[in-house]
């Protein structure tokens, strides 16, 4: 094994969510050298921000913990957080990749003691809770954050607030002089595990997301249910902090729609079915969930879960794509208008809270794909012309966590084949 890990035998994995971590680990555990780059300060991606998984209703922290332990034990993976890929040149087996490393303003001396966070008073919108609350401008992103190292928000650097953080640090970890760095590495294969982002619900004009406070996205609802979320796990609606006992779930919010995302995002039906159980968990028989759907796509074995939810007396189903939402000005309740296509009944139903099951689209913020990468009609990654770059997880297709892990393992195997071939040609 050579001293430098950045050779044509290295696999570069872009994105440190569940897919990126999996792809990196699978290759590393096969003895390959891997560089895992992540644009945010922590690993875990969107999966770390879920409250529970379907269908087993277990918590993502569990799987995350296992993966983090695998990572800590493995010497073959080098993790670079706050890093984006700015350029890729070369071809299969021999790529030159330019990485841009943003300053964290905290160096590796950090012990995550939290003194800087206590010293600072400035607050920034909390990206881990989709901006539903705020956190201190010197912060540890979340309890499970890896690396366990604080981050100083750039907005307080060069202000007295930044100096306060620096003064409070007992180990000299706060370094306000950090600058953005550019690093160039070589890699034999690249796995793009750049993930997904929720479709911008404000674009679905008739649903009033952004205009009505009690219309939220499914991801925001995950945070409401999570004990680490802005409400400490209580399902309180954003409009007035009232308990949301009567919740509407609108399926295909942006998906399967030529005006928005033309693909089926595949996970949203199961996500909503899962979330009806959060309502039940919080309020028992008093809770009420209504799912408005075109057709429920609980793929393969998930049908069992669907049948379980169908039997739940607190959950009802309305076969209808909601036409529009209005707001009851007196109590802030959203009113759903549409036609139930089973019998063609016109309805105007009031709920405490509306959850839009928003579709998945490929993440593009901070992602600069090389021209060589082939995309499908919804911009998911199909592969590359030279067959040296691969899409993994939700960057390749709208997938749930389970299938994202399978996809990442497959991508990892493809990448291993590329660098193995490389190794044999180098030896010869």
């Amino acid at each position: 094994m050579t001293a430098s890990i950045a050779t044509g035998q290295t696999i570069l994995v872009v994105g440190g969510g569940i897919s990126g971590m999996t792809a990196a680990l699978e290759a590393a555990e096969c003895g390959k050298q891997v560089i895992l780059v992540e644009k945010t300060p922590v690993l875990g991606g969107r999966t770390a921000r879920l409250y529970r998984y379907f269908p087993k209703m277990c918590h993502p922290t569990c799987g995350l913990e296992i993966n983090l332990r695998r990572l800590k034990q493995n010497r073959n993976v080098r993790i670079m957080t706050m890093t984006e890929v700015s350029a890729v040149s070369g071809s299969r087996g021999n790529y030159t990749v330019t990485l841009k490393v943003a300053p964290r303003f905290v160096n590796e001396n950090c012990t995550a003691c939290g003194k800087c966070g206590e010293a600072v008073t400035a607050e920034v919108p909390n990206p881990w809770n989709y901006g539903l609350d705020k956190l201190k401008a010197a912060y540890l992103p979340h309890n499970m954050a890896y690396p366990q190292r604080y981050v100083i928000d750039p907005s307080i650097v060069g202000t007295p607030e930044g100096e306060k953080a620096k003064a409070a640090c007992p180990v000299g970890a706060v370094d306000l002089e950090m600058k953005e760095e550019t690093v160039t590495i070589s890699a034999g294969a690249v796995v793009w595990a750049t993930g997904w982002r929720p479709y911008d619900a404000a674009k679905i004009q008739p649903y009033g997301y952004g205009r009505f406070k009690n219309v939220i996205t499914s991801l925001e609802f995950e945070r409401l249910a999570d004990p680490q979320g802005p409400t400490g796990g209580k399902i309180l609606r954003p409009g007035d902090g009232k308990e949301a006992k009567n919740v509407a779930f609108i399926q295909c919010a942006g998906s399967r729609d030529e005006n928005h995302l033309r693909h089926c995002s595949r996970i949203c039906c199961m996500a909503s079915l899962k979330q009806t159980q959060y309502v039940r968990e919080a309020f028992g028989a008093e809770g009420k969930s209504t799912v408005y759907y075109i057709d429920i796509r609980a793929i393969d074995r998930f049908e069992d879960f669907y049948q379980m939810v169908q039997k739940d007396a607190t959950v009802s189903f309305v076969k209808s794509k909601v036409a529009r939402i209005a707001e009851n000005k007196a109590n802030g309740n959203p009113i759903l208008h549409g036609v139930n296509t089973e019998g063609y009944h016109r309805y105007a139903i009031e709920h405490d809270l509306v959850v839009l099951a928003v579709g998945m689209e490929p993440e593009i913020t901070g992602v600069k794909l090389p021209d060589d990468v082939i995309l499908d009609s919804s911009n998911f990654i199909e592969g590359s012309k030279d067959q040296g770059m691969f899409g993994a997880g939700a960057a390749a297709s709208p997938l749930d966590v389970n299938r994202a892990v399978q996809s990442a393992t497959a991508a990892s195997l493809h990448a291993i084949q590329v660098v193995r071939k490389n190794a044999s040609t180098e030896a010869a």
Partner: protein, 207 residues
């Protein structure tokens, strides 16, 4: 049963969807409907008609020929285009509605006494006569469509508006004697006849 209707029944037998695809404007898009119901919920006239668009589309697929063609629903469309804007499959719903109305009218199956249909017929007949709309005879024709008594009643109610328009020179009472025509009325009639012939041929109607 009109000859055109008989021919259509003979030709398509039990496949009403095929008939619609072949004869109705944008009829080939009907099969794209996925029954989400967003058009029905978005229609401002929704509560006032019997069959919502997605129901009409399902009825077409189910072969309910008589029920669809004699429905008054497509005659209620005001062309607001709300359904087209919101349809997730981008079906040209407004156009299909008008296409269906037109087809039903040609086959003689459209509902009798449907106000939109009656006014449409009145308007067309008025227009072709002289090549321009004679507002006076059109209005009078419209007022008297439900009988003489109703006509006189509406006429008296609208008296002030009519006199005001005459004073403002927006209405010429002399138009009642037939009114003026477009230049080259003969040419205009020939043009309309040719257009009708082309359309009838295209849609399989004998002129």
């Amino acid at each position: 049963m009109t000859t055109a209707n008989q021919n259509a029944v003979e030709r398509y037998r039990n496949n009403f969807l095929k008939e619609v695809e072949a004869n109705v404007e944008e009829g080939d898009m009907v099969k794209m409907c996925m029954q989400c119901g967003v058009c029905a919920g978005s229609c401002p006239l929704g509560p006032h008609w019997e069959h919502s668009p997605q129901k009409i589309f399902m009825m077409i697929r189910a072969g309910k020929r008589e029920e669809v063609l004699s429905s008054d629903s497509m005659w209620m469309c005001t062309s607001c285009y709300n359904c087209i804007v919101r349809c997730p499959r981008q079906l040209p719903i407004t156009h299909i509605m008008h296409g269906l109305a037109n087809y039903a009218h040609r086959l003689g199956l459209a509902p009798k006494g449907q106000p939109t249909r009656e006014f449409g017929t009145l308007f067309w007949n008025n227009l072709v006569k002289k090549g321009r709309v004679n507002e006076l005879t059109l209005t009078i024709g419209h007022y008297f469509k439900d009988g003489i008594a109703a006509g006189i009643k509406t006429g008296l109610a609208m008296q002030a508006v009519g006199l005001g328009m005459v004073k403002a020179k927006r209405l010429n009472p002399m138009e009642i004697f037939g009114g003026h025509a477009v230049k080259d009325l003969k040419g205009f009639h020939a043009m309309v006849a040719k257009a009708q012939e082309i359309e009838a041929k295209k849609k399989g109607f004998t002129a």
